[in-house]
């Protein structure tokens, strides 16, 4: 009897061929190493970053000769000495660090109710609205958003025009530190909500109901049930917001009016304005180190939160 044409369809043949190719490239005896093979893309990516860091480290130890604009062949720690002693870099580093801490705290405070409402609301319409409002800023981009604030908050912007209608003279709402913090919080909010939402989703609603049935009011339930269980989300969101704020360039550059530089701007200046790539590399390394230390402290104190994918001690 002739076999039906569909008994061994073309798709299966293709799959067999692909499996044959895969077996030739990666024989069965290598199977135990397969999980490590999965790591290869990540290793390649991190490896490239490490290579870049090694190059940056090399550049950081070379000083610029301003008579030839060539870098020294010898290594020295002169750039590190400058970075640690010149007032400009200390001011900028302190400003960046304080801003990162403030922005992280404020963003988490704003992000939590947003994420909680988005996760717990019974209204599909409201959930959709909150999701759209959350993702919309991602499509706009940081620079455009910062310029948007210039239009809204500028001397001739919408806010000042509205104030003018009630007789208030135009006031400077941008080009200062609070404006930079405001812009960063607005930029970071979606990141924080996205990191918090999975942690809140993982808290069974029944726990809150049980706390209520045992006599806890909303505040006690929030403090003793929701907040502790949401800690992994707070840690994940906090780490992401902290590191992104610490290294931000566009918001302080656009909303700071030139007088609220962060470390990233100081790095840019050294690379592109004074052509001193050695000092720029030094500042870049120090920023990486500062960010890594901060994240390390958070992980040491609180665990990795949602970033540990459920394996943290939180």
């Amino acid at each position: 009897m002739q076999a039906a044409r569909t008994a061994y369809p073309l798709k299966w043949r293709i799959m067999d061929a692909l499996e044959g190719v895969a077996a030739a490239i990666w024989p069965a005896r290598f199977r135990r190493a397969t999980p490590y093979l999965m790591l290869l893309p990540a290793v390649l990516l991190v490896g490239l970053l490490v290579l870049g860091l090694i190059q940056i480290a090399d550049a950081s130890l070379r000083t610029l000769d301003t008579t030839t604009f060539q870098f020294s062949d010898d290594y020295s720690i002169a750039n590190f000495r400058r970075a640690l002693t010149e007032p400009l870099f200390l001011v900028v580093a302190r400003r960046s660090l304080i801003a990162a801490l403030i922005v992280t705290a404020v963003t988490l405070i704003f992000a939590f109710p947003y994420a909680y409402l988005m996760v717990r609301t019974a209204s599909p319409g409201l959930r959709k609205f909150l999701l759209i409002a959350l993702f919309l800023p991602f499509f706009i981009g940081q620079v455009v958003r910062a310029y948007g604030w210039l239009i809204i908050l500028g001397n001739q912007g919408m806010v000042n025009e509205a104030l003018g209608l009630v007789g208030v003279a135009p006031m400077r709402l941008i080009y200062n530190y609070p404006a930079v913090l405001f812009g960063l919080v607005q930029y970071m909010l979606p990141f924080a909500v996205l990191m918090l939402a999975p942690a809140l989703t993982a808290i069974p609603e029944e726990l809150e109901a049980a706390a209520g049935s045992l006599g806890a009011n909303w505040v006690r339930t929030f403090i003793h049930v929701v907040l502790p269980l949401a800690r992994p989300g707070f840690i994940g969101a906090g780490v992401v917001v902290l590191t992104l704020s610490l290294t931000d360039f566009a918001v302080p550059a656009i909303l700071g009016g030139g007088s609220q530089d962060f470390v990233a701007i100081a790095i840019y200046d050294q690379f592109f304005r004074t052509s001193d790539q050695g000092l720029g590399a030094t500042l870049a390394l120090m920023l990486v180190a500062l960010g890594s230390i901060l994240v390390g402290i958070v992980f040491a104190l609180f665990g990795a939160g949602t970033l540990a994918m459920g394996r943290s001690r939180a």
Partner: protein, 368 residues
Amino acid sequence: MKRFRPTLSQLSRRTFLQATAALGGASALGLRGAHAQEPEKPAEIIVRAWGGSWVDSLKAGVSDGFTKMTGIAVRHDLTEDNEIQPKVWAAVAQNRVPPIHINWDTTTNATKSALRGVTEDLSDLPNLAHVTDLAKPAGLEGFPIVNTYGYVYVLAYRPAAFPDGPPKSWKDLLDPKFKGRLAFYNDGIGFHFPAQVAGGGKLEDIPSNMQPAWDFITKMKAQQPLLGEDPDFTTWFQNGEIDAACTISTNAREARKNGVEIEWVVPEEGAKFDTDGLWIPKGLPENELYWAKQYINHALTKEAQQVWLDGLGLPGVVPGLTPPKDLVDDPSYPTTEEDFQHLIRISSKVQVENESEWFSKFKAIMQG
């Protein structure tokens, strides 16, 4: 009789350029047969330029004429001058073809590239025979850069904010009513030298003792000025954010063209005068180098300079240019010896060697 026709690689660069420059001149005179001897034309040449009215002026004055003359398209690369520099330096260091044919650059920035040895020598451009001393980069051997015009960092102001008449001194900006209403470049460029005079110092003390400048800038910091780049000044004037700024006159003129009421002066302490120029990075194929040089040579013709610099409102390096009507007898358009007496000019070499320290000092004051 067969004539020996060397390949491009067999020609020494100078011999080649002398020959082709002569042929170029011949072709400009209408000797069409000369075109047969020109090196192969690239489809396009890439000129790095500043955007907005800057590139519009270059296109109208130089690029369009060059394309019409040679048939070679000109692409303007609007990468910032500071950002193209490391790319060009890296390309030359790695023996790669650089990403641009011509860099339109500040003379200070270009001097860095010249000191690093990444610029082609332009001494053999035929039109250099007809330019003023301004075209020659001070303190450098030969012509690694050709300065193409000068500009002044003027004190630009909104007349409405100065009801008693134009500001006479940079010190006038210390009036408390201007708190938060002033603007400077974010690295202080253009303001260091007049600040030295306004602070009671001497220009001869630059760079050894600039404490008077830093003291004056510290006083100015209390005014909480905005700090930005060229486009910011025009925007800030247009949006009513500032009343006065130390900026290149071109930016102020651009704001005025856009309907903003704005004037400018050279205060009694003086104003910084500087130049921009064109240069060619090393590493181009010989034929492209030739046509890049032809571009710069064309930029030094009176016709090209007149249109280009009418757009920018800046004085060129070719004698006999006519100032734009709105800039006749304007201090930002110096043409006579007397005009230059009110302007401060410090050699590019001194600026380049000390710029990093000055920028840091200015920023340390303003960021503190």
